[in-house]
Subunit: 206 residues, 2 copies
C-alpha cells in the first residue's frame, strides 16, 4: 500500500534498521527525521502518522522475508530439501544476514505482546503466515514420505520457531560462538526424530 | 544491593510489572512516579539514576526466578524428576503465573541485544546462570542414567530455552490455545529422544 516512490522507500529502509534497535514504538518521526537529516514536516508528507510509518516498516520486513527466505526455499524440491532450505534461510534472517540487527519480527513480539492495535494485528498476521508456511512445507515432506505420516506439522512448526528464537538469544544476546551449531544440531535432531526411516540420533554439538 | 526498606521494595515491585509492558528503557522515573502517584524527587531519594532503578528491577526478577522456579525444582530428586520440575516452573514463569506480563528476561533480550552497558551485562549474567542451571540438572539426569551418557547438557539447555521462547510467542502474541500443550509436547519429545531406554515417539499435540 502506497509504499511507492524512491524517497518513501529510502525512509522505510532506514526506519527498518532503526526499528531493530529502538523498537517500533521508539521510532518517532522526530528520531527518524534527525537520523535522515530531513525535516519532520518533510516526513509527514510521506506518512500521515507514526502508526502509518510503523505499518509500512512492518510490511517492508514482511516483503523482504518472503523474497529472501520463503520464495527461494519454495523453489527447492518438495519435502526435506525444501524444509532444509526454509530453515537455512530462516537462520540467515535471524542471524542478521539480510537486515542489520536480525529478526525484526522477534524484536517486535516482545514489544507488541501487550499492545493492541493495527501494528500488533499485522505482526500476528505475519507470524501466522510464517507458521503456516513452515507447516505446509512440512506437509510436503510427509506427502513425499520423507517424514513420518503421523507427524503434526503445526507442532513441527512450533519447534522450528523455538529453535530460531533460541538462536537469536544465543547469538545476539549471549554472543555464544556455538549459537549457529546449536541451532543446526537442534534442527537435525528434530528432523531425525521424524524421518520416515529411523536415523541415528545426533544430539551432540560440534 | 540496597534493595532494603518497604517503600523501596514497593517501588521495585511496581516497576517490574511496568517494565514488562514498556521495557526497561521506557521505564523512566517520571513514568513510574506518575504511576505510583509519587513525586519524581521522592523516587530520586531511592534511586540515584534510571540505571540504578533498572538494575534493581532486574535483580528483583532474578531473585524471584530463583525463589519460585529454581529452588523448588532443586528440592526434587536428582535426574528426570528435577528436570521435569524445572521445566514446569519455567513454563509457569513464562506464562505469567508469577509476574504479570510473563518473562521479563525474554522481554529484555530484544531490548538489550544491541544496547551495551551494566543492564545488558546483568541480563547476560542472569541468562548464563539460567542456562548453566538447566545444564547442571540435565547432568544429574545423565548421572542417574535417566538420560543417555553422550548427551550434551548445553545443547539440551539450548533446546529448553527455545521451547520456552516459542511458548511465550504462541501464548502471548498469537493467543494460541494450544501453546502450553505444544510446549509440553516439545519437552516430552526432547526428553524421549534422550532417555536411556528407548521410548515411543510422542510428537502429536492434543
Amino acid at each position: 500500500m502506497k509504499t511507492t516512490g524512491k524517497a518513501h522507500k529510502k525512509i522505510v529502509d532506514r526506519a527498518l534498521v532503526l526499528a531493530n534497535q529502538v523498537g517500533l514504538e521508539g521510532l518517532s518521526l522526530g528520531v527518524l527525521a534527525s537520523d535522515l537529516k530531513r525535516s519532520k514536516s518533510g516526513l509527514f508528507a510521506h506518512f500521515k502518522s507514526k502508526e502509518e510509518l510503523q505499518l509500512d516498516v512492518l510490511r517492508e520486513a514482511m516483503d523482504r522475508f518472503v523474497t529472501l527466505v520463503v520464495k527461494p526455499a519454495l523453489e527447492q524440491p518438495r519435502g526435506e530439501p525444501r524444509l532444509r532450505a526454509l530453515f537455512a534461510g530462516f537462520l540467515d534472517w535471524v542471524g542478521g544476514r539480510y537486515v542489520k540487527g536480525g529478526c525484526i519480527f522477534m524484536a517486535l513480539s516482545s514489544e507488541y505482546g501487550d499492545r493492541p492495535g493495527p501494528v500488533r494485528d499485522l505482526l500476528v498476521e505475519s507470524q501466522r503466515t510464517w507458521i503456516n508456511t513452515i507447516a505446509r512445507v512440512v506437509q510436503t515432506a510427509i506427502d513425499e514420505k520423507h517424514l513420518v505420516a503421523d507427524l503434526d506439522p503445526m507442532q513441527f512448526a512450533y519447534e522450528i520457531v523455538g529453535i530460531g528464537m533460541a538462536f537469536k538469544h544465543a547469538h545476539k544476546l549471549m554472543n555464544d560462538p556455538k549459537a549457529e551449531t546449536r541451532a543446526r544440531t537442534a534442527f537435525e535432531n528434530l528432523l531425525a526424530r521424524n524421518q520416515s526411516k529411523p536415523q541415528p540420533r545426533s544430539h551432540k554439538s560440534a
